[in-house]
């Protein structure tokens, strides 16, 4: 693969035995993973094409311990890569050979639930789904729902500002978090927000969320929990073309209906997901929309009838309302397992650009042309309501030229997203994957501002360096991103 990482610091590598001994003294033997087999578990994340063995892995179980480890690393000028569950699709959690990985997975407790204030205070190593599970008895849930929600941690969601299928209605991570406890690189502990809304001063919490683990390590968060609707039901709308499906999405929104989710799949995606989930997806459609609405039984019926009427104008090949809870679960299982299902038939490279919905037909055509030109197949899955595309470029990991072509095709697709007014990443983050494309979307002035902000939180660029910004860019102060 083609992306370069910064050269590891020899001096740090030479000290690795001492560093490991120090970490064990600070965090305890059981919290430090230093053997090769143990470290290998952490050498990659969801972007599996890239690997790097970290110098050591520490799994602290308290905020204070995270602070002690960071204070030590800061003093010794050792880089730190924070890690949740390691599900990042953009290499956001990819270790560096000269860095210590600090994982929050042992910090996974629910600390407080307050239904009157509608908040839960949790440790950040908790999985996304575990938050919803902790409050489901009272009919509540935590709204952001990335497809990896069974495994991914809140810490990772906070770092990447993760979205999900239902964020059309409920917003992404940043819209659902009210407070956080953050350990800065120098070991200081910053408390932000709380159970109240809209903390004053500059929105440090808002900056922290989506900073890709480069500002600090969030160890606790206060998240909003919402009362679930009385019920929800998806319907399937099949169309003879992607254009018709896209036009139907616009028409639904134009009438003032915001479904809780509108998901799109093209034919290759439908075929794979149907064979995996047996959800009843229409096999004769070129494009499929999963549209979900919420409310009481009667409200759902009214809404679905309205949506069916709107869809009728676009000559749907299928209009099928979910027959009940079992089929609804299968419909969502198919969608949420899509990446895994496609992974069973091929290696794939998952893109994450967002586009203005009106440009959908030309972008889908462009994606087909780009992939055809690189002799690669592609399956398209995306959150149609908000234009967040997930083209999955299929390639053969055993064939280096195929992998390289996939990367090239991916970069061209993301450039196309930016050209039509969209962005490089809607919910996965920049990480290493889109790092070198940042200048397609931002000017050097824009990026310089961002890099200077990083320096406010982490002046020596020790936290998760080598990511988000092209390596050749430097902060005004002269600190190199690659340092």
């Amino acid at each position: 693969m083609t992306l370069q990482m910064p050269q590891p610091d020899r001096e740090t590598l030479n000290r690795s035995e001492d560093i490991i001994a120090d970490l064990k003294r600070i965090a305890g033997e059981e919290a430090v993973i230093a053997d090769e087999d143990g470290r290998r578990t952490f050498e990659t994340d969801g972007l599996t094409a890239y690997r790097a063995m970290p110098l050591a892995v520490v799994l602290p179980d308290t905020t204070d311990l995270v602070a002690e480890v960071l204070r030590y690393c800061h003093r010794e000028k050792i880089k730190v890569v924070a890690r949740g569950a390691g599900t990042s699709l953009c290499g956001g959690a990819l270790p560096l050979e000269d860095a210590v990985v600090v994982g929050v997975s042992r910090m996974n407790k629910v600390l407080e639930i307050d239904y009157d204030s509608r908040i839960a205070r949790v440790e950040s190593g908790i999985t996304n789904l575990a938050i919803s599970n902790a409050v489901s008895e009272e009919g509540f849930f935590y709204a952001p729902d990335p497809s990896s929600q069974l495994a991914c941690t809140l810490a990772g969601n906070l770092a990447m500002n993760s979205g999900g299928a239902h964020c059309l209605k409920y917003g992404v991570t940043t819209n659902n978090v009210l407070g956080a406890k953050v350990v800065l690189m120098d070991g200081e502990i910053l408390e932000l927000g709380g159970p109240h809304l809209d903390a004053e001063g500059y929105d440090l919490l808002g900056l922290m969320i989506g900073s890709e683990g480069q500002f600090g390590i969030i160890t606790e968060a206060t998240v909003r929990i919402l009362r679930a609707a009385e019920g929800a039901r998806p319907m399937l709308l099949g169309f003879a073309s992607s254009e018709a499906a896209g036009a139907c999405v616009s028409a639904i929104i134009a009438t003032g209906i915001i479904p809780v989710a509108i998901e799109f799949m093209d034919r290759p995606a439908i075929e794979v997901c149907e064979s995996f989930a047996k959800a009843g997806y229409p096999m004769d459609a070129e494009a499929l929309l999963i549209v979900e609405v919420e409310g009481s039984e009667e409200e759902i019926n009214d809404r679905l009838t309205q949506i069916s009427c709107i869809a009728a104008a676009y000559n749907p090949t299928t209009i099928q309302v979910s027959s009940g809870a079992t089929q609804s679960a299968k419909i969502w299982k198919g969608r949420k397992s899509a990446f895994g299902a496609i992974g069973r038939i091929s290696d794939y490279y998952c893109m994450d650009g967002t586009i203005p919905l009106s440009r959908l037909p030309e972008v889908l055509r462009g994606i087909s042309e780009i992939c055809a030109a690189h002799k690669l197949r592609v399956a398209n899955i995306f959150h149609a309501g908000d234009g967040n595309l997930h083209p999955l470029i299929l390639y053969d990991a055993n064939d280096p030229t195929s992998a390289e072509r996939a990367e090239l095709a991916g970069a061209e697709i993301l450039s196309l997203c930016v050209e039509v007014g969209g962005c490089l990443t809607g919910e996965h983050g920049v990480g290493i994957e889109k790092r070198d494309l940042m200048l397609k979307q931002f000017s050097e002035t824009d990026l310089s501002l961002q890099m200077q902000i990083k320096s406010v939180f982490d002046p020596e660029w020790l936290l998760n360096p080598g990511k988000v910004f092209p390596l050749h860019l430097t902060v005004d102060a002269g600190t190199s991103n690659a340092a």
Binding site: D116, L197, G201, L204, L207, D302, T354, T445, Q452, V456
Partner: protein, 407 residues
């Protein structure tokens, strides 16, 4: 009174700002100036207004997105949205009238610069949750962009959020791109009468725990409810607890009945229809019940919902206070008699005990010079905020000292 410079374009704004940057002489940044009396008094040589940079230049109703120049009047934005049955869902509050400024003149950039969010905030998020992209001029005089025009965007750090709520102390917003939403087909308000504050707040929290998407909850004690301009509600001279539901017609009717049943322990509510509901909530948006009065100061306190009545009780041990609860009890507007410190030490002590933050919205200039207007920050947060100020505005050119003495 310093001169007011009005730039018509971002380029002109940069040129107007340049000589001040050159001389390191700070400027006051305003839109229409409706909120000029909020914040700490400043020493500036000139006032730079974005009010001549106006116009909506992109509006895609089916993508739920609009872009406008910073000085575009909010009223123009809302009229354009209304013609497509859409709205700014966070229903920005007009702080003008309550703080001694003009009513209905605020600009869209100022709405985001002050992160001004109204009653629907409790259900749908704050102003900053709806801000997608910005073009701004920093205190260095540099033009920059952040965010974009699409709803899901995690490309780079979230500078939009960092700048929303910074009260013009980091950058001048020359363009804003934001998310809009369909306006509801129908609105209804369930109005409960004569509940004491703590029970009113309990009712609001109970309502938010129901699956009916309550989109506004306010409690007005009797003396404050009596100030309503809306005749049918004001004439009753009762404490009012109001719960708003919005959706398509059949849904609203169903939910109103379901809520009445679920919350019957709190009494039998009057159900107010769409037209009167819109008037009532529209009135609250401009804080009509907290009108400008030199004899009083006005605080805005944000706390955990159930803490609201406790904070008020604690303040009332030291001074009389007229209050209105919004956000299910989590936002309290507190009117206290004017004094040399606007009751700051007692208000801040109550907030420190129960959690949250307090902002002094209305007070004489001498008071705003003497006490912290915005919630004091921890030393660490203060240091980080100071660092951000240096990134955007190292010479402290823009609204210096308006939020805090050092930024």
């Amino acid at each position: 009174m310093s001169d007011i410079l009005r730039a018509a374009t971002a380029w002109e704004l940069q040129s107007m700002l340049a000589p001040y940057v050159e001389k390191k002489v700070p400027v006051e940044i305003i839109g229409s100036g409706s909120k000029s009396r909020i914040g700490r008094p400043m020493q500036t040589a000139a006032t730079l207004s974005t009010v001549s940079m106006h116009g909506i230049w992109m509006y895609e109703p089916t993508e739920l997105v609009m872009s406008a120049h910073g000085g575009t009047p909010l009223a123009q934005i809302e009229a354009a949205l209304a013609s497509n049955n859409q709205m700014l869902a966070f229903e920005p509050t007009d702080l003008g009238p309550a703080s001694g400024g003009p009513r209905g003149t605020q600009t869209i950039a100022s709405v985001f610069a002050c992160n001004s969010s109204g009653s629907r905030r409790v259900a749908i998020g704050a102003a900053r949750d709806h801000l997608l992209g910005i073009e701004g001029v920093s205190g260095r005089g540099q033009l920059f962009n952040a965010g974009g025009r699409v709803m899901k965007n995690v490309t780079g750090y979230d500078l939009c959020r960092g700048i929303a709520g910074s009260w013009g102390t980091l950058a001048i917003l020359t363009e804003v791109t934001f998310k809009v939403l369909p306006a509801p087909e129908k609105t209804a308000t369930l109005v409960y009468h004569d509940l004491p504050d703590d029970i009113g707040v309990e009712l609001m929290c109970a309502a938010m725990r129901l699956p009916y998407e309550v989109s506004g909850t306010v409690h007005l004690p009797k003396s404050v409810a009596g100030r309503l301009e809306h005749s049918s509600l004001a004439d009753q001279c009762h404490a009012i607890t109001a719960l708003r539901i919005e959706n398509f017609e059949k849904s609203v009717d169903y939910r109103a009945q379901a809520m009445r049943e679920a919350l019957k322990v709190y009494g039998d509510p009057t159900i107010v229809g769409s037209m009167n509901s819109l008037e009532f909530w529209g009135e609250l948006r401009r804080l009509s019940v907290m009108p400008y009065d030199e004899a009083t100061c006005l605080w805005r306190v944000s706390t955990a919902p159930m803490m609201g009545p406790k904070i008020v009780a604690s303040i009332r041990r030291h001074m009389p206070a007229e209050v209105m609860y919004d956000w299910s009890g989590g936002l309290i507007w507190i009117e206290v008699p004017a004094s040399a410190d606007a009751g700051a030490s007692d208000v801040r002590r109550a907030v420190a005990v129960h959690g949250g933050h307090a902002t002094l919205i209305r007070a004489d200039q001498s008071v705003r010079a003497a006490v912290e207007v915005f919630q004091p920050q921890s030393p660490l947060a203060e240091r980080l905020m100071g660092g951000l100020k240096v990134v955007f505005d190292p010479m402290r050119m823009l609204n210096p000292g308006r939020m805090y003495a050092n930024i």
